[in-house]
């Protein structure tokens, strides 16, 4: 048990504990903050695995982007101090049973499958390597998915604006006025 394994188990405890609190907390804002800690723990796990580029992307995109977006939408759509309604006891019990069964089944599978690693080459995930392979046009390059995903981002950006745009002619406004 050296210091590296201790760090791994501490990071795992942080990820799983914050994850459990994120899905069970009764206040939605606290739930978002626990999600933030869980994502930071996952970034720490990437740092522990020495894939620094993915860890940096995780922090920038998830912690700095998606969680902030979620917190903004919580502020825009509901009273963040109010408790969420509790789910029914039977639903909680059956969901927990399903999750525990899935965990036990998958743990069993992982435990009995011997993973044999095929090569002992050193793992090199430096930004230099990733950048060269990302934009290479050879048979192992990722230039086509890179371009396709840029089109996807553009489409989703336009789609977000169109969906969230407030239009005065749509029928959503009379429905809203009816409820007020």
């Amino acid at each position: 048990m050296n210091i590296s394994s201790i760090i791994f188990y501490a990071i795992s405890a942080l990820i799983l504990g914050a994850g459990i609190l994120a899905v069970t907390s009764v206040k939605i804002f606290r739930s978002a903050i626990w999600l933030l800690f869980s994502l930071i723990g996952i970034a720490a796990l990437y740092f522990w695995m020495q894939v620094e580029f993915i860890a940096a992307i995780q922090i920038v995109v998830y912690v700095g982007g998606i969680v902030i977006l979620i917190i903004f939408s919580i502020f825009l759509t509901q009273q963040s101090g109010k408790d969420l309604p509790k789910p029914a006891i039977s639903k909680m019990v059956f969901s927990a049973l399903a999750a525990l069964f899935g965990i036990a089944f998958t743990f069993n599978l992982i435990n009995h499958y011997g993973f044999d690693n095929t090569s002992s080459a050193p793992f090199n995930a430096s930004v230099n390597e990733i950048g060269m392979q990302m934009l290479s046009t050879s048979s192992h390059g990722f230039i086509l998915p890179f371009e396709v995903v840029s089109m996807l981002l553009l489409a989703s950006m336009i789609g977000c604006i169109v969906i969230a745009m407030k239009s005065s002619t749509s029928d959503t406004i009379p429905l809203n006025n009816k409820k007020d």
């Binding site: 795992s12 899905v23 978002a32 998606i66 979620i70 525990l100 990733i130 990302m134 429905l175 409820k179």
Partner: protein
Amino acid sequence: MNEIPLTHILFVSTALFFIGMYGLFTRRNIITMLMSIELMLNSVNINFVAFNKYLFPDKLDGVFFSLFIITIAAAEAAVAIAIIINLYRSHNSIDVDDATEMKY
């Protein structure tokens, strides 16, 4: 570093995936369901990176898969939040039990 076997990292990501599944089953609020989905996507990313590092250290395919998954998850979260805001505007609620016009 090498004292931790691959299976322990897979245990962590499996547990995280089923925590997200539990949240998706029990929550009725769309924002919290979206947060559960983010947890599940992250557990998949951990799996890709761990398999790449431990089983195929001479390639980088798992790293690229997680990069593209992160990108698509960001796009998905942005579209989902636009839909949530639009739903809140028309129903004054983001509870999935209140949006049942298309159910039957």
